[in-house]
């Protein structure tokens, strides 16, 4: 029985990191009052008795799979179904042979250990797994290909963990932090935008969530999807300025504003590129380009709304002025004047806006443009037009 016990030990050490998550779930499910010890005893007693051969086929895909997530989810589903199967079959296998009892005690100790270590250092524990596994694999290799169904199972385990080592401990680490992350994201989502697996209390929600992951393929897909989205949102946060928002909706808002701003910049820059080709002074030639609002410094959603409101009218005016400018600059200027607009170099405009901005902001209807976000690097680069309700600003600066 000795090699068997060693194998069992190693196998359980492998099972532990995955079990420590399921065990949190499954006891509340079927045995709300039983401790981990009882469950473990039950499981261990029924484990050798039941047929492992049915598990063999599910383990084969993980051998071929290289991806972390697939392996992880296979483990979860299979183990969970396996455990449930055990529990349904009942704890009738009391199986108290002395070797088995000693094994159980050792296992319990290990369980306690792993429970204590659970969320934290999976690294050292993982090394144990790897060590056990490698010794295990040598055992298997000595025994030849698994005619014994148990050995076949261990092959599956060892292959899985070999994958782990190849992929530099990705398996366990994303698994537990993922659970933690999903729990956290679930909780965050519940705080911010509502949870999809509602439960009366938060810790119970976390338990529920994990268990739901094991049972329901739909919730697994959902969770996977949400994890991916969260990952990518994090990557986006670094790109987009002012992205310290935790809320998904406001994050999306910032992203939208930023994309609009960048597209606008491209548009304006493509207009300003014409300046060199025009016969007239570059300053004037770019005049048609610019009567649109930007949120250069993250001016906020109000700025964005105004842009969307002004854009259509602005585009029309823009076209008109451009057309006029081809024929005659004078007529273009008159047209602008009629609209209550003017052209001025950006340096002057920034000076005016900074001096009057805070006092006149509620009064000003509209649009300050800086196509060059870095300030007045060259006055010919962009044109600023000021459109305001106050008559003093209206027709000045020609």
């Amino acid at each position: 029985m000795q090699p068997c016990s060693r194998e069992m030990q190693a196998m359980n050490s492998l099972l532990n990191p995955t079990l420590q998550d399921q065990q949190i779930q499954t006891p509340p499910l079927d045995h709300p009052t039983s401790s981990h010890d009882d469950f473990l005893e039950q499981m261990l007693s029924t484990l050798p008795s039941c047929s492992w051969s049915d598990l063999k086929s599910p383990w084969d895909p993980p051998k071929s799979d290289e991806t972390d997530n697939n392996v992880g989810f296979h483990y979860d589903e299979i183990l969970a179904s396996k455990l449930r199967h055990h529990q349904i079959n009942g704890g009738d296998g009391g199986g108290s042979s002395p070797a088995a009892a000693a094994m159980k005690i050792m296992m319990q100790q290990q369980m306690m250990l792993t429970m204590g270590v659970s969320t934290g250092a999976t690294g050292s524990h993982h090394q144990n797994d790897v060590v056990d596994c490698s010794s295990f694999k040598s055992l298997n290799q000595q025994g030849g290909e698994g005619s014994n169904s148990m050995q076949a199972l261990f092959n599956g385990f060892s292959a899985g963990s070999l994958h782990e080592t190849n992929q530099s401990h990705h398996f366990h680490h994303p698994q537990t932090p993922n659970f933690g992350a999903t729990a956290r994201t679930v909780m965050n989502q519940s705080q911010a935008s509502g949870s999809t697996t509602p439960a009366p209390a938060q810790p119970k929600q976390r338990v529920r969530a994990r268990r739901g992951q094991a049972t329901d393929p739909h919730s697994i897909a959902e969770r996977l999807r949400r994890e991916r989205i969260a990952e990518r949102m994090k990557a986006l946060q670094e790109l987009v300025p002012n992205a310290n928002k935790t809320d998904k909706a406001s994050m999306l808002d910032e992203i939208i504003d930023y994309v609009k701003f960048l597209q606008l910049q491209v548009k304006v820059l493509s207009m300003s590129r014409l300046g060199g080709a025009a016969a007239v002074a570059p300053l004037v030639a770019e005049g048609g380009g610019g009567r649109v609002q930007t949120t250069a410094n993250g001016g906020g959603s109000s700025g964005g709304n105004q842009t969307s409101g002004n854009n259509d009218s602005v585009a029309v005016t823009e076209h008109q002025v451009a057309k006029l400018m081809e024929e005659d600059m004078g007529s273009a200027m008159q047209y602008l004047q009629g609209k209550g607009l003017c052209l001025m170099p950006i340096s002057l405009a920034t000076a005016i806006s900074t001096s009057t901005c805070h006092s006149r902001n509620p009064m000003m209807k509209g649009a300050l443009l800086q196509s060059n976000g870095e300030g007045p690097s060259s006055p010919s680069m962009s044109v600023l037009t000021v459109q305001s309700a106050t008559p003093t600003m209206g027709n000045g600066g020609l």
Binding site: S190, A192, S193, G194, S195, T196, T197, P198, A199, P200, D216, H218, S219, A221, E222, R225, R228, I229, R232, M233, A235, L236, L239, D247, K248, A249, L252, D253, I255, I256, Y258, V259, L262, Q263, Q265, V266, K267, L269, S270, M271, S272, R273, L274, G275, G276, A277, A278, P282, A285, G288, G289, H319, A322, K323, M325, E326, N372, S377, S378, M381
Partner: protein
């Protein structure tokens, strides 16, 4: 942006090539047309710099080549790469199919969620706020889909990926155009 210098160079090269080819065709263009050509050539150069790896680039090119007037321009700029529109159409179909499948899954999950919510008594305040925020998020994803070229066919995950890529390429575009413009004007 140091990591993007290769991208910048690629974009610059293609853009200048495209501009040269365009300027040979028409000598007298209006300002608006010129602006459009410049912007279009810049966009297409940017998109082709991705070599069809991202969806937004393919969508951009296919949209541009749909227009009869712009098609010539696109062909000129892209040159011998005439197979990109074909790739775009096939991926479009695959995209829509995938999108419909994803929608089915999402719908099913919504139904299950609703059923679960009925079973478990959630606090009414929480449900209301969650529904409001979900509505907001959905509205904003709609807006984002209109912004990103080809965004209507993407599901949320791909949309955010594409946004990431699109933002970086827009930034590159802006930087290059700005530096070119300042270089031109500093000389004149």
């Amino acid at each position: 942006m140091c990591p993007h210098t290769s991208l910048k160079q690629q974009f610059l090269k293609k853009w200048i090539m495209g501009l040269q080819r365009c300027s040979f065709s028409k000598k007298n263009m209006s300002i608006l047309e010129r602006k459009k050509t410049i912007k279009l050539s810049a966009d297409i150069a940017m998109a082709s710099a991705r070599n069809g790896t991202t969806r937004w680039s393919r969508a951009l090119i296919s949209n541009a080549s749909k227009d009869g007037s712009d098609n010539r321009l696109v062909q000129q700029i892209l040159g011998p790469d005439s197979n990109t529109p074909a790739v775009a159409t096939t991926t479009n179909k695959a995209r829509t199919r995938r999108a419909s499948v994803c929608k089915k899954i999402v719908k099913r999950s919504h139904q299950i969620r609703r059923r679960r919510r009925k079973c478990v008594a959630a606090a009414p305040v929480k449900a209301v706020t969650s529904s409001i925020s979900k509505h907001l998020v959905r509205k904003r994803t709609q807006v984002l889909k209109t912004l990103i070229p080809g965004g209507e066919f993407m599901d949320e995950i791909c949309l955010i990926e594409e946004t990431l890529d699109y933002i970086t390429s827009l930034r590159v575009q802006v930087d290059v155009m700005r530096s070119v413009a300042s270089a031109c004007f500093s000389q004149s």
